[in-house]
Amino acid sequence: MSDIRAEIIPQTQPGEAGFGDYVRLLKPRVMSLVVFTALVGLLVAPSSLHPIEAFAAIVFIALGGGAAGALNMWWDADIDRQMRRTARRPVPAGTVAPGEALGLGMGLSLISVVMLGLAANWLAAALLAFTIFFYAVVYTIWLKRATPQNIVIGGAAGAFPPMIGWVVATGHIGIEAVLMFALIFMWTPPHFWALALFMNDDYTRAKVPMLTVTHGRRATRAHVWVYTLALVPVALGAGLTSIGGAIYLAVALALNAVFVLGALRIWRRDEAAAEADKYRVEKQFFTFSLFYLFGHFAAFLLEATPWAAAFREQFTFWGI
């Protein structure tokens, strides 16, 4: 009996991962943003796709995004362990072994890219492969610990999904896909710098060279302001292409006005005021930034519906 016990006990460690731990390894919240933006990219494209092909393409894009997340958690386990925001992730928490995260990430990368190539086309698959490479290698392994420009350049990884969605439907990269990419690319720095302003202690402890750590909060506030201003023409410019229209422009104008005002408030605040209200303005700006991006892509989607076409016809009828 003692032999049996000896074999059982080591295998029955309480730290063994459950299914949910593997799901958390794929960063489901990031995946939801990937799914939404890729779906919009696919639906606004001027081509139709069989619903099952479209569904499969979105599943495999999401899976590719999840694979990149697992690879990120594998490499970043040491710094994730030191940050409050990430300490409970499966690898730093000890529920999933680093090797398992690496294996899952590599396996899902391969499956997602090959399956997207078979389900849609090989240009879309190549873009997905590049996205995974960019996020896991260029951003996570190289830029994140090397330069305060990490999230500026690394933001490209999060910007690819709508472009991949567009390529799945059309087979080529159009100006609309580039502008959807640019919208997320330009949105990423103010979004993450707002987070860094009120989570600076985490990044300092983990020695991640975020702008707040290397150049201080004052410089970061100025960067948030400048990058937000640079984002506005990109957001409005997308409205002048085939995926935009009056509805999109109205939504974009409102969202950008609020976003610019928020960035202005961040820029004009000093640290004493921010400390006094526990970074309320920065936290509001960060939360609104999520709504900002969702609002733009929801407006793209709205423009692609028959109701928007009927709305446009009304303007044509009245000669506007």
Binding site: M1, R5, T12, A17, F19, I52, E53, A56, A119
Partner: protein, 83 residues
């Protein structure tokens, strides 16, 4: 009580301990069920994708070992055009 073999109670106790549902067993069951469902969903997706690809929006007709004019490109121009 005293009629049993020495150690019987101990062995039964160990067997019961093995049969008892530990939290770990539930976690493993959940993991296995999860993996099973993911694999089943993947198979269903690949099957659906295969049907969608080969049908191309039309109906699928299989070769059934007898001459069918509807499938003859010489008879049915739709087949020749690949529609």
């Amino acid at each position: 009580m005293g009629g049993g073999f020495p150690g019987t109670v101990h062995i039964l106790g160990d067997l019961m301990a093995l049969a008892r549902d530990h939290e770990l067993h539930r976690r493993r069951l959940g993991r296995n069920m999860g993996v099973g469902l993911v694999l089943a969903a993947f198979i269903a997706l690949v099957f659906g994708l295969t049907i969608a690809k080969i049908s191309g929006g039309g109906t699928i007709q299989a070769f059934d070992h007898s001459y069918r004019p509807a499938l003859d490109p010489g008879v049915n121009p739709e087949i020749r055009r690949g529609e």
